[in-house]
């Protein structure tokens, strides 16, 4: 535990001359000073003491757009060869430490002896009004990070943050995948066309009719499918197409069953993939028409009879090679008829029988031809015409065979034309269907890959979520007690200060639960007049928010700075009304007995409230008030104690602090007097400022007051001479408060008493006619502050101790 004993500023900020602030009995300090009178220089001194870079946050390390660097740490009126120092005395456990830190333009770092003090200041303990509310207005995560810094858990907080960043990246990937999947769905929907639209009757009908078009079938309504195809108007010649329709109907029904349900990519695409085989078969079966049969037969005939038959066996007329394969099918059948006719010719003797047989075989040939034409879907009227024409030829006998053949050949050409046109249109449709199905299958593969990616990503997300929960739970454990302790103290402070509020608000400071999505948070909420869970800014007045912020900051400092129970409050009540200033003063003087408070204020009302609150326990507090500020000398203090009677009592009772009290009295007179007479002591050794200050100050005063009668007094007045000599020697008693008295051979209580009485006599030398003890420096002369008379150093016999 570190207890502050004293802090001294020399040449630092608003203190061109040395000033010491002491904390008797580990006590506190209440300092009043108007604006610009050196009050904040004291809080700056503490900030400087614990600064790792030997500067103030608002000054920065060097000049910049918003900073000025370390130069302003040094008082601007100091000669160039004077340095600026802040020295501090404290006890680290039982060990007294005194250390001086120089405020130089180039920081030498933290002095080693100061290290325990700096290390114990986990949290900045200087609380300034303007910066106070930052914690309240921060986001929960910022508060969490700030506490993490104090907990030494910043690395863990960063770990939590990193894991969340990874989660956000994974979530981004999840969104991208979802978009890709959505795009795939749309693509599949467009790609699968009729399949995806099977819920809509008209597109289905269109799709079905498109499929059935090659078979010259058209359905007017889907009920045709549902009610069976009995009602369909099919010609006899379309037996194969009927079969194709039946197949298509079966496939369609199967697809309808599969599509019934949630339309997903799988339900759309999988049937397509399976239907591909069906479509192939369907196309093949539609294409497989009688024309193909004819083609096969014709090809076979051509290969068998080419070059073997070059002329008509009936009439001997030579005929050329056929150009179209299908012709051969018909030629084959004609050949059969020709063979029959040839047989008849050989039986010319039995003409009649032959003619009958010719007619029979001719009729058979015609019948075969007509059936083929029908299967080839040649227009029925045309077939009738052809049949009629051929029969008339046949009736003309063998001599008409060439005509018969000629006409048959023309018919074969017609058949070829039909075949070509049908094959082309069916091939296009067939190819389109296949390409479509392949594209669908490709989509299905993309979907499979996407699904696999989603599966792997989901697993990673799951693992990261487990890791996050594990880390959050573990790290949270360290925050729980801290936040609870801070919350308890904050609420206690807030309710005590704001107890007079008309509408009291219940304040809570809570750690975001570890299981929450973002567990890195500290919520500050209020329950205001039945409105729970509100932010403080929502309902609290400016003063209430300020109280909450002050309570929080004090609670944080007290929690973390357990080894350094010290708080500097610099103008923290400016936004309060008188009533709140009063309650704040009461709380500060009653709830913070275990903390050394340094309360700096320019608020006269608050200062009075504090003094009122301090009365019963004033022994632990030092109350100081800056009366004036002089650019060359710095703040001029009016200390309320100790007075000379108290010092005398302490000396008489053998109080161990008597030496210290006497020195403080001594300095309290010496410094203003030095200021009044224009004496400026040098500080040749900053490491031991007290010893040199007072001795040098005394010499300066003696020298400076030579013109006011000191010179003749020293020459002619033995008593004055003796007093001055004693005082010159008595400077040693300063050490008694800062070291081990017995080891240094420091003076006894008797020595201190003698020196103190000499001091009082010496003080009494500086008088004026009206007995005012305070002088001021004006127009290069020292005059009485009250009557304006010039200072005189009186004979020792004429002096008395001022009241």
């Amino acid at each position: 535990m570190i207890r502050l004993k004293a802090v001294a500023l020399d040449g630092f900020r608003g203190y061109p001359q040395p000033a010491t602030f002491e904390f008797p009995k580990d006590g506190s300090l209440l300092l009043f000073a108007r604006n610009g009178h050196g009050k904040s220089s004291l809080s700056d001194a503490f900030e400087f003491l614990v600064s790792r870079d030997g500067t103030l946050e608002r000054l920065g390390l060097k000049k910049g757009p918003t900073t000025s660097g370390r130069a302003p740490l040094r008082n601007s009126t100091l000669p160039e060869d004077h340095s600026a120092f802040v020295s501090v005395s404290f006890e680290d456990g039982q060990t007294p430490v005194q250390v001086v830190r120089e405020a130089a333009e180039t920081s030498a770092g933290i002095p080693e002896a100061l290290q325990p003090f700096v290390s114990a200041a986990v949290v900045p303990f200087i609380v300034r009004g303007p910066e106070l509310r930052a914690f309240v207005y921060q986001t929960p995560v910022q508060r969490y990070d700030e506490l993490a810094r104090y907990l030494n858990a910043s690395r863990l907080s960063k770990l939590q943050s990193d894991v969340r960043q990874i989660q956000r990246e994974l979530n981004k990937d999840e969104r991208l995948t979802a978009n890709a999947m959505k795009k795939l769905h749309a693509e599949a929907q467009a790609m699968t066309g009729g399949f995806a639209k099977t819920c809509e009757k008209t597109p289905l009908l269109s799709w079905l009719n498109e499929k059935l078009a090659p078979a010259s079938i058209r359905m007017n309504d889907l009920s045709d499918v549902d009610d069976g195809y009995g009602e369909l108007r099919l010609s006899e010649a379309n037996e194969r197409s009927t079969s194709a329709l039946e197949f298509a109907r079966t496939e369609l029904s199967r697809l309808l069953e599969r599509i019934d349900g949630t339309p997903t990519v799988e339900t759309w695409l999988a049937p397509v993939a399976e239907a591909r085989g069906g479509v192939v078969t369907l196309g093949a079966r539609i294409v497989e028409t009688p024309v193909s049969d004819l083609m096969d037969a014709a090809s076979q005939y051509l290969s068998d009879s080419q070059n073997a038959v070059s002329e008509c066996p009936l009439c001997g007329t030579e005929y050329g090679n056929t150009e179209v394969g299908s012709r051969e099918g018909v030629v084959g059948r004609i050949n059969s008829a020709r063979d029959a006719l040839a047989g008849l010719r050989s039986a010319v003797e039995v003409q009649k029988a032959a003619e009958v047989e010719l007619e029979r075989l001719g009729a058979e040939a015609i019948s075969t031809l007509v059936r083929s034409l029908s299967l080839a879907q040649v227009d029925s009227q045309r077939i009738v015409d052809i049949e009629s024409s051929l029969r008339s030829v046949l009736q003309g006998g063998a001599r008409h065979m060439s005509v018969f053949e000629e006409r048959a050949t023309r018919l074969i050409d017609d058949l070829d034309e039909v075949r070509r046109s049908r094959t082309a249109s069916q091939g296009m449709l067939y190819g389109r269907l296949l390409a479509h199905a392949d594209a669908c299958i490709n989509l299905l593969e993309q979907k499979r890959q996407l699904d696999e990616r989603v599966r792997r990503r989901t697993q990673v997300q799951s693992d990261i979520a487990i890791a996050r929960k594990y880390i959050d739970n573990r790290v949270h454990g360290f925050f729980t007690d801290t936040v609870d302790a801070i919350s308890k103290r904050t609420i206690e402070f807030y309710e005590a200060v704001q107890k007079h509020s008309r509408v009291p608000a219940r304040v809570s400071v809570e750690l975001t639960p570890a299981e929450n999505e973002d567990a890195r948070g500290i919520e500050i909420l209020i329950d205001f007049d039945g409105n729970p869970g509100m932010k403080p800014q929502a309902y609290l007045s400016d003063s209430q928010q300020h109280t909450l912020a002050l309570g929080l900051r004090l609670a944080i400092i007290r929690h973390f700075n357990r080894h350094l129970p010290l708080v500097v409050l610099d103008d923290v009540v400016t936004s309060y009304d008188a009533e709140t200033r009063n309650t704040t003063a009461k709380v500060l003087t009653s709830l913070f007995q275990d903390v050394q408070l340094i309360v700096l204020t320019h608020d006269d009302t608050f200062w009075r409230y504090m003094r009122t609150g301090l009365k019963p326990k004033q022994a632990n507090w030092k109350v100081r008030r800056v009366k004036n500020y002089d650019l060359r000398f710095g703040p001029e203090f009016i200390d309320t104690k100790p007075d000379q009677d108290i010092v005398r009592d302490a000396i008489k009772s053998g109080d161990e602090s008597a030496g210290s009290q006497a020195r403080r009295f001594y300095e309290r007179w010496l410094h203003p007097m030095a200021r009044a007479v224009g004496a400026r002591p040098l500080m040749p050794n900053a490491l031991d400022p007290y010893e040199y200050t007072n001795r040098d100050l005394l010499e300066s005063i003696i020298t400076a007051t030579a013109d006011y009668g000191m010179k003749p007094r020293l020459k002619n007045d033995a008593t004055v001479r003796q007093i001055v000599e004693e005082l010159r020697d008595s400077v040693v008693f300063n050490k008694s408060t800062h070291g081990d008295d017995s080891q240094d051979g420091d003076p006894s209580i008797g020595d201190i008493e003698d020196a103190f009485e000499s001091l009082l006599t010496f003080i009494a030398l500086f008088r004026c006619g009206c007995s005012e003890a305070i002088f001021r420096y004006a127009s290069n002369e020292v005059r009485c502050n009250k009557c304006g008379q010039r200072l005189q150093v009186l004979p020792s016999s004429a002096t008395s101790i001022p009241a």
């Binding site: 863990l156 990193d162 990874i166 990937d173 990616r453 792997r456 697993q459 890791a467 573990r474 357990r562």
Partner: protein
């Protein structure tokens, strides 16, 4: 330079032992860090992801999460 791994410290000893009332005000973050690092798989994190986290999230450097994402993406995209 690779950071030397300290031995695992029981959670109860992470607290600053010199606290006035024994309640921790500051923690031994390094020890907790390594405890978390080595406890990932025990906590149920899959071996692959745990290994990546140990090498990246718990590693050195300022772009740890970026490195982690790079590694995790190769797992997701099955670059292997």
């Amino acid at each position: 330079m690779k950071e030397a791994e300290p031995p695992l410290i029981p959670p109860s000893q992470h607290a600053d032992a010199s606290s006035a009332d024994g309640t921790p005000t500051q923690i031994d973050a390094t020890a907790v860090f390594y405890e978390l690092k080595n406890g990932l798989q025990v906590a149920g994190v899959g071996e692959g992801v745990a290994a990546i986290m140990r090498e990246t999230v718990f590693g050195d450097g300022t772009k740890r999460w970026a490195q982690t994402m790079e590694r995790l993406r190769s797992v997701i995209e099955d670059d292997s």
